[in-house]
Symmetry: C2
Subunit: 251 residues, 2 copies
DNA sequence: TAGTGGTCTAGACCACTCG
DNA sequence: GAGTGGTCTAGACCACTAA
């Protein structure tokens, strides 16, 4: 960072293959935080101060600080300053992946069988989940997803026909309903809840497990704008399909 | 976006309270993708083309495209161009939060009781999880976390003493071990796996549930650099402490 | 009013990919 | 070589916060 370019004739700021300057600035700040020099809440030098200290343009400094703010390392307040963010307790994000991706990435064979595929009238529960009127028509599919013919997930899904009138025209054993809906409708938001349950009788039968086998239950709702496009219960016998992740901690 | 500023005299680009230009560009691109005009894989106009089309500076266009790339909506390849990313199947991220945050945010009272708090020798299982030698000393704590005195989580944790020699000097019923470790050591990475299990006898007793009550099991390992700082099993009776999230879908 | 971050511009050099 | 994205600069105007 040392070569301070004079105004007119521009000295080359980067040697070939060098890390970008904004990136070096980010790293310098991360280092000062890591070694304890800047504790959480500490006030980071202003953009202008860093411009003077490092001999870089303000846009470069700004990009470094802005990205660190987006990444959660810093907090910025207009008119006030930039501060080291409070330490995040190591709360983690876990990714819920599409079954088919998990299976094919493991090099295994994916198959699915359709159990139910019909238009029904919304019961009170379904109406509430889809946020539509009682007894409105809804599409209902139940699919068993298999890895090498072993059932790994039971998908019980309701779809709002107003948003996906062509839902049934698709071969839903070839493409995941989630994939289809994501492509066909513009899904903008999703909601997840994870729980542990014991399977109902019919669920245990379809999955080929005992009634005392604990299962992961993921309830997922996907939205298109403010409307609920689909609500699904994904039931997975313990041990067959893992939910896991490894991730960096911001600070 | 219409006011194309002439070169010398600068016309004001923003009315007060207007969205930033780079933000408007992002929205425009997102709209074109949403309404199907630009399908996944479609080649987005180059920065220079957008500069000409929209009458903005290249830096502004660049910021819009760069942020959309970071957010996963676009893919950029130097020398080639910018493309609409493939539709993400609606795979979701779920946040695993610190118990204490969840409880206090609900306005309830958090308490904890220490069940075990001692130094032990690593069994084969523990040695493998912590990636240390067999029979090495390890810190072992078992804590029951309660919401309004109702047990909601059983935390069974092993800590690598080499990384956290002062682990026992802390009042671990007042501050979460995860919080302490995040602050004291520099935790850099975390690993999670979620499963559904039935509790063991002693676990069921501590949680005050029946042996047939399915429980969520979160296995978490936190790293400091390449070394495992701590490995924990977090056991949660169904229904008492939910894991959930609502999030935007990138595309 | 002075200082801060938020944004924008016009122009520049570079590394990369392709034909 | 022409075109692409990646980066950097110097200078500018703005909105916000504080004393």
């Amino acid at each position: 960072m040392g070569s301070r370019p004079t105004s007119a004739a521009r000295t080359p700021n980067r040697l070939s293959g060098t890390t970008p300057l904004y990136s070096a600035v980010k790293q310098m700040i991360l280092d000062r935080i890591a070694n304890g020099a800047w504790a959480p809440g500490h006030r980071v030098p202003s953009e202008n101060e860093l411009v003077a200290e490092l001999g870089l343009s303000r846009m470069t400094i700004n990009r470094a600080l802005r990205e660190l703010a987006i990444e959660g390392t810093l907090r910025r307040v207009q008119g006030l300053g930039t501060f080291v963010a409070e330490a995040k307790s190591s709360t983690g994000l876990v990714e819920i992946r599409a079954v088919i991706d998990t299976i094919t990435e493991r090099g295994n064979r994916y198959s699915a069988s359709m159990v139910i595929n019909e238009e029904e009238r919304a019961t009170p529960d379904v109406a509430e989940e889809l946020e539509i009127g009682l007894a409105q028509p809804v599409f209902h599919t139940i699919i068993v997803h298999c890895e090498n013919d072993l059932p790994v997930q039971l998908e019980d899904r309701y779809v709002n026909p107003a948003l996906a009138p062509h839902y049934f025209e698709q071969d839903l054993t070839a493409i995941t309903p989630d994939q289809f809906l994501a492509q066909r409708i513009g899904l903008t938001e999703a909601e997840h809840a994870i729980d542990a349950v014991l399977p109902a009788n019919w669920e245990a039968k379809l999955l080929g497990v005992g009634r005392n086998e604990p299962c992961l239950l993921v309830r997922r709702r996907a939205f298109s704008g403010k409307k609920v496009a689909t609500a699904a219960r994904l039931l997975m016998p313990s041990g067959r399909l893992n939910i896991h992740s490894r991730m960096h901690i911001k600070l």
